[in-house]
């Protein structure tokens, strides 16, 4: 196998793992995939603006991401009590940048969420993720994650699960 294919396979395995942990609401294990310094951004519409001057759905540093996960772990965050059954398909994975200490991976996703906490709707979420990954031994840590949701330019339903 060429180095390139090997790298893609490694990135795929990592993104699939992250997706599975999020789907199954395994909060602490999911958080353990993130670096000490992290930017976790879900912009309004495209990720083409300065999030310090315009609103975003999520613009977390490590501290706020930990708060987010801890709130879910209380078991009484009623928007996710019980956690939404979810399955997401991650695809179109490309390594778009290779750096000395890591890489940038782009991917698409389609996510089916059953919002059984209240309205019992099946919600479909689709979008694009950009992961900044830092190489650590034989795996990665996420140092940045930006998620563009295709229909997020005006409004979204409750997004209390891990995207």
């Amino acid at each position: 196998m060429s180095d390139r294919l090997e790298l893609i396979a490694e990135v795929e395995a990592f993104l699939y793992l992250e997706a599975r942990l999020a789907d199954e609401s395994r909060y602490a294990e999911w958080l353990a995939l993130f670096d000490d310094q992290v930017t976790y951004w879900v912009p309004k519409g495209r990720a083409d603006y300065d999030p310090t001057t315009r609103v975003s759905y999520i613009n977390d540093n490590r501290n706020r991401l930990e708060t987010r996960v801890k709130q879910l772990e209380t078991g009484v965050h009623y928007a996710q009590t019980p956690p939404s059954p979810m399955r997401r398909v991650v695809s179109n994975i490309e390594v778009t940048e290779q750096l000395d200490d890591g890489l940038v991976a782009e991917s698409n996703f389609v996510l089916y969420e059953h919002s059984l906490q209240a309205s019992n709707e099946l919600r479909v979420w689709a979008g694009h993720a950009s992961h900044g990954l830092r190489r650590v031994d034989d795996s990665f840590l996420i140092r940045s994650k930006t998620v563009e949701i295709v229909n997020s330019s005006r409004s979204l339903p409750t997004l209390a699960f891990l995207l």
Partner: protein, 426 residues
């Protein structure tokens, strides 16, 4: 603009029987006929908040909004007038603008190429020889009345609602002045954009839950477990006989939670010590005087509903958009202030993101409760109790009703006005 909705058939359910002083029939939230009648009596015949003039600073700047279910454009004209126009071609009814925000030099229709100016007047059309009505009749529709207070733009589609001053009353005017006076130049600068949260509930549950001081310790308990040192713990959750925060019904459906009475220090609402924002404090004193400035530094921004759709939510401004009996969009923007350092407004933005929106730490739980209320009321009713605190509410000299922060004074104030508008009082 009222012509299309005024002809709706009278609702089969007698809306006048749904509300008592302390109860609400669940069908007020679930009945399609009630919703249709609200669109007429509240959102067409009454005053509705449209937007803030600071959102459109330059000529041609616009935002698109809805009045009830009717799409409108709020746009700044070349002479700096703020116009509210129907987002609907006067010819065949196509929306002119699709974007939420932008800048336009004119308003063209994609269908037949009619083009309007920023004041809504028809500027031109292809093949004008066939025009068989007066050109003056081809302007875009406008609400019967549009008025502004401190940059807050309101519209009344029917033109029959009386003056904005009457709608706001002294209580509503005081709230808008208060929010604006928090800026050291006396003006908001709402330029961070809006986020919407789609909820499967009736719009009125948002007017209620945004102004409910009773649920913080229960519905939002997950947040306090994780962030135990917010300004709300002392203000609202210290124990029924200890908390100092209060509720207030200012009349005309404008209702308020006075969290600030329970704060333990100045600037608790901003979460910084005074020395970190000394420039801001000095500028505030300069503009409004030491007495009012010290008061404002304690109070922070108001937490209040301006009936029916404007929520002054501390560091946020929110619009409650009714979509259907069981569908609502709760839009919010951070309450950015003109005349402060960028770091100040960045702080406001960060606080806003933490609290509000689909992925905030507070509103998702409010949405869950609202959606479960909508489910619970089903189709045939059930009655909601809003009597809490009638045993201890006080009527002040100006007519305001005041009570404990956990009491349902805001709910009763909202519904009293709703009942007034939904019955034939005129």
């Amino acid at each position: 603009m009222a012509s299309k909705t005024n002809g709706l058939a009278a609702n089969a359910l007698a809306t006048g029987t749904l509300v008592t002083d302390t109860t609400v029939d669940g069908r007020a939230y679930t009945d399609d006929g009630v919703f249709a009648e609200e669109l007429v009596r509240i959102f067409t015949n009454g005053w509705v908040f449209v937007g803030h003039s600071s959102e459109i600073p330059e000529p041609g700047d616009y935002v698109t909004r809805t009045l009830g279910r009717d799409p409108v454009i709020m746009i700044r004209d070349r002479d700096n007038t703020v116009n509210v126009l129907a987002n609907r071609c006067a010819h065949r009814g196509v929306t002119l603008l699709q974007q939420e925000v932008g800048n336009a030099v004119s308003l063209p229709c994609i269908f037949h190429g009619w083009t309007y100016g920023l004041d809504g007047a028809l500027k031109g059309m292809p093949q004008p020889g066939g025009l068989s009505i007066a050109r003056d009749d081809c302007s875009l529709d406008r609400p019967g009345q549009t008025a502004e207070h401190r940059g807050f733009v309101f519209a009344n589609q029917s033109g029959t609602a009386g003056s904005l001053e009457d709608h706001l009353g002294p209580g509503g005017i005081e709230l808008l002045d208060w929010a604006s006076d928090l800026s050291p130049v006396g003006s908001l600068d709402l330029n961070a954009g809006w986020l919407g949260q789609e909820v499967s509930s009736n719009w009125k549950m948002w007017a209620e839950s945004d102004l409910d001081g009773y649920h913080l310790g229960s519905l939002h308990r997950s947040l306090w477990q994780v962030v135990p040192d917010s300004q709300y713990q002392a203000a609202v959750m210290a124990g029924e006989n200890i908390v100092k925060a209060t509720t207030r019904d200012r009349g005309r459906g404008h209702v308020e939670l006075e969290f600030w009475r329970g704060y333990d220090r100045q600037l608790a609402w901003l979460g910084v010590p005074r020395e970190r924002v000394s420039d801001y404090c000095e500028a505030l004193i300069e503009r409004v005087g030491a007495e009012r400035a010290e008061e404002l530094l304690w109070q922070g921004p108001p937490h209040a509903l301006i009936f029916p759709n404007l929520f002054l939510g501390e560091m946020n401004l929110a619009i409650i958009e009714p979509v259907a009996a069981g569908r609502t969009i709760h839009h919010h923007t951070p309450l950015l202030l003109a005349g402060v350092a960028p770091s100040f407004n960045q702080r406001v933005l960060r606080q806003s993101e933490a609290a509000m929106g689909p992925a905030g730490f507070l509103l998702p739980d409010d949405a869950a409760a609202a959606e479960r209320m909508q489910v619970a009321f089903g189709h045939s009713g059930g009655v909601m109790d809003l009597s809490r605190g009638t045993n201890r509410e006080v009527v002040e000299a100006n007519g305001d009703r005041v009570g404990h922060v956990s009491d349902e004074i805001p709910g009763r104030g909202f519904w009293r006005h709703w009942h007034h508008l939904m019955t034939d009082h005129r």
